[in-house]
Symmetry: C2
DNA sequence: TGACATACTGTGCGAAATACAGTATAACGT
DNA sequence: ACGTTATACTGTATTTCGCACAGTATGTCA
């Protein structure tokens, strides 16, 4: 596995991770919980990638957060907003369109 | 269509466009030709996005280029390399995995 | 008591998408 | 003949992302 490989593989995260987070946040979750969930799905994400993404999504009001201090450690729960749902729909549509194009063009090569 | 929308939609290009270019370059093509092709597929790409991407792919030896000066205007033809094919396979596999995860998680919301 | 898991924040770097500007030729309509 | 549009590419500056790395703090378990 050369360095070039990881370089290009990394780029595959950007769009996908946005959508993935917006999808799972239909149900309220906190950062560390998502990291575990993604790992179970066979998709490892770095803490230093997810946490800034969550803050960014909140900054643009696609998600809302509230601290839960009732348990052992304080946890910051995130949940998708109405705006987030609207944008998620658009992003999922883009994804499907891209998937359609890719499947059609690459079926002879796979 | 707010500004936030485009901001997040933009991120959807990155991984996809890499793969798309590597797929179509199984057949030799030049930049402007790809722009037209993508447009026909319903997927508009900016010149200022595609050209730097092609240079980058060449820099990392995923594609090779040669100038064709026989026609009216000089055209820079690109074609995928062996290294490019190897990496394309990995990226396509990542795409499929991501698509699988997304379809499973979001089927109840779509 | 010392390592590991949990749970988050903050800073800095390299690289990518795009805007914008520029170069140059060919095809076209008027 | 002349201006506009299409063709075909290069180069620079800006913004923002992914991630490495560092740091803070509490809980669990050998």
């Amino acid at each position: 596995m050369s360095d070039t490989d990881t370089k290009f593989e990394t780029e595959m995260n950007r769009g996908f991770l946005q959508v993935l987070v917006l999808v799972v946040l239909e149900e309220a979750m906190y950062g560390y919980m998502m990291l575990r969930k993604f790992e179970q799905l066979g998709y490892k994400v770095e803490e230093s990638t997810l946490y800034p993404l969550l803050r960014r999504l909140e900054k643009y009001e696609l998600v809302e957060s509230k601290w839960d201090v009732s348990a052992d450690r304080p946890k910051k729960f995130y949940e998708i907003s109405e705006k987030g749902r609207r944008i998620r729909q658009k992003l999922l549509k883009i994804w499907q369109q891209q998937d359609f194009i890719l499947k059609n063009l690459s079926q002879e090569d796979i």
